[in-house]
């Protein structure tokens, strides 16, 4: 089992969600986050005052998947979230030791 964490551009969320559904991913957790990578921040000007904003709004998607789904899911995210411009985001994949479905107490892949 793996946990996929994808940081993407907020306006790409719908496309990524659809693409994941197509490869069989049935659930996800989405958080609005802020951050920066190579894109850096931007400048806001209010009348005479200039402010550099380091953190840009992004969306973080977290999904737990079975090992055989990982490649398809990551591929779907990358394909759907890509604009080719700086700031498209990143996908992290980490191993998961245990998953529990709270309602039924199921464990492991059955709980995904």
């Amino acid at each position: 089992m793996k946990l996929i964490i994808a940081i993407i551009k907020p306006f790409k969320l719908e496309e990524v969600k659809t693409a994941l559904a197509e490869v069989g991913v049935e659930g996800m957790t989405v958080t609005e986050v802020k951050g920066f990578g190579r894109q850096k921040g931007h400048t806001e000007i209010y009348r005479g005052s200039e402010y550099t904003v380091d953190f840009l709004p992004k969306v973080k998607i977290e999904i737990g998947v079975a090992d055989e789904v990982v490649a398809k899911a990551v591929g779907a995210i990358v394909k759907a979230a890509k604009t080719g411009k700086i700031g498209d985001g990143k996908v992290f994949v980490t191993p998961v030791e245990e998953v529990v479905r709270i309602r039924t107490d199921e464990r492991g892949e059955a709980a995904l």
Binding site: E44, R47, S49
Partner: protein, 483 residues
């Protein structure tokens, strides 16, 4: 014994007495019954906003009175919630309530001062002084629904007093913008209390009082025959220049130049700007103190100058910075309103468009270049918009005023004090410059004295910890946004 002759004699006396009574009654009633011509003339005077004569004394004209009540409500709407939201949106989230509290607090405080002394000190007359009104209207004694014909033939004096109160409220509220996010609430209240007596009441009398020092249009004995239709000097210059000095004496906000101090809600700011614009019709067109042709002209010039200034400010930003910002449009609109204020009842539509362009260019430079060059922390640009705009407006009025839209510029008092000659032959701008200088000196000197005294006695600033945490929680015990 009852004889016919005696009865006849009684009858004769009774008739004589009756006749006498009738003539006496006719003699006392005669002045109270105006002729048809007089009554007609009084009605014509109502239409022309003139003196009704004896036929209609002590009566307010419904149309004029109705417009002035509407205007008074509109001017209050400028402060609550117009200015409160305009400023409130521009501060950081942690200080939004402090701005609202300051606007509300000033409204209550100034209303009390106005009722007790203010109205009388501005619009009373028993001092017979060019600098202050009088004592006869203290506690609004004698201020009834009958008009005060020194100021308006057809508007109830209580309505006039309430209308002028709204100006007295918004003026100190404008100062809040320059010192936002860093002054103690009780220090602001104390400052405004003293400032009203030292700056506003005298200045408003000088400009608008019937015996005022620089009331060129209405006071034949005015020393400076200057003009200010709706308060370029009284409202915007006085508050703007005082704001600059108070901001310098306070010093910049903690973290100024390092922390991000961007507006927390441009949406609230825009909503407030729209309310200011709408309310300003009461401010400018209402300053005719009648629903007459001069008010109609002021309504038109206000619209033109404001729209042109808003669009121009946005265009300047688009050209030189790449984006036409909401704050740019809002700043342009407010600057346009400020600059047209002293001029609105004296210039024509062409003058208004010229003023609109100037109102964008000059305050834009003040808010961006001037502020950056000197590094003062005029938090919400009260100085850049109101002081610079008010001064510009007062000066430009000297060049663009024309008697073709306002015959009062060449009326009897204006002929006596020399204004009429300045309007027709040119040179009014010099009188305007004198009025500007007097306003500037009064505002600056008084603010320095009041601020340093208060600083020594009660202190002006909260502690650094309070300032970092925000004024809302610490000064008012509330949060603007509870999540």
């Amino acid at each position: 014994m009852h004889t016919p002759l005696r009865s006849l004699r009684w009858c004769f006396f009774a008739c004589l007495a009756g006749l006498f009574c009738l003539t006496a009654a006719a003699q006392t009633a005669a002045p109270a019954a105006p002729t048809t011509d007089e009554r007609l003339a009084a009605l014509e005077a109502y239409v022309n906003n003139g003196d009704p004569g004896k036929a209609l004394t002590g009566v307010a004209g419904p149309g004029h009175n109705g417009w002035m009540m509407t205007s008074a409500a509109l001017v209050l709407f400028m402060t609550l919630p117009g200015l409160a939201l305009f400023y409130g949106g521009l501060v950081r989230k942690k200080n939004v309530l402090s701005v609202l509290a300051q606007c509300l607090g000033i409204t209550g405080l100034v209303t009390l001062l106005w009722w007790a002394f203010g109205y009388s000190l501005v619009f009373g007359s028993n001092f017979n002084s060019p600098f202050l009104g009088g004592t006869e209207y203290f506690f609004l004694k004698g201020v009834t629904s009958a008009p005060n014909t020194n100021y308006a033939y057809w508007v109830s004096q209580n309505v006039f007093a309430m209308y002028q109160l709204m100006f007295a409220i918004i003026t100190p509220a404008l100062i809040v913008g320059a010192i936002a996010e860093r002054m103690k609430f009780n220090a602001i209240i104390a400052f405004v209390t003293v400032w009203m007596f030292v700056v506003y009441f005298p200045l408003a009398h000088m400009v608008w009082g019937s015996t005022g020092y620089m009331n060129g249009v209405w006071n034949g004995d005015a020393h400076i025959p200057a003009i200010d239709f709706a308060g370029g000097t009284v409202v915007h210059m006085s508050s703007g220049w005082s704001a600059l000095l108070l901001c310098l004496i306070l010093g910049p906000r903690v973290g100024f130049g390092k922390d991000k101090m961007a507006p927390h809600s441009m949406v609230l700011c825009m909503v407030g700007t729209g309310m200011l614009w709408v309310g300003w019709y009461g401010f400018n067109a209402g300053s005719a103190v009648a629903a007459d042709g001069i008010a109609a002209n002021a309504f038109t010039t206000t619209t033109l100058a404001t729209a042109v200034a808003a669009f121009t400010w946005g265009a300047i930003e688009r050209l030189f910075r790449g984006h036409a910002s909401i704050l740019g449009f809002c700043s342009g609109a407010v600057a346009g309103l400020v600059v047209i204020t002293p001029a609105c009842g004296f210039v024509d539509s062409t003058g208004a468009v010229i003023i609109g362009v100037l109102a964008a260019v000059v305050p834009y430079l003040a808010c961006t270049k001037l502020k950056a060059a000197f590094g003062y922390d005029d938090a919400l640009d009260t100085f850049g918009v109101h002081a610079v705009g008010g001064t510009l407006g007062a000066l430009v009025t000297g060049f663009l005023a024309t008697a073709s839209v306002n015959a009062n510029l060449t009326g009897a008092p204006a002929v006596k004090n020399g204004l009429a000659k300045l309007v027709t032959d040119g040179g009014l701008w010099l009188a305007q410059l004198k009025a500007i200088s007097l306003t500037l000196v009064l505002a600056v000197v008084s603010t320095v004295v009041i601020a340093y005294i208060l600083k020594a006695v009660i202190g002006l600033r909260p502690t650094e910890e309070v300032e970092r945490q925000g004024l809302d929680i610490n000064e008012h015990g509330e949060e603007g946004y509870v999540s």
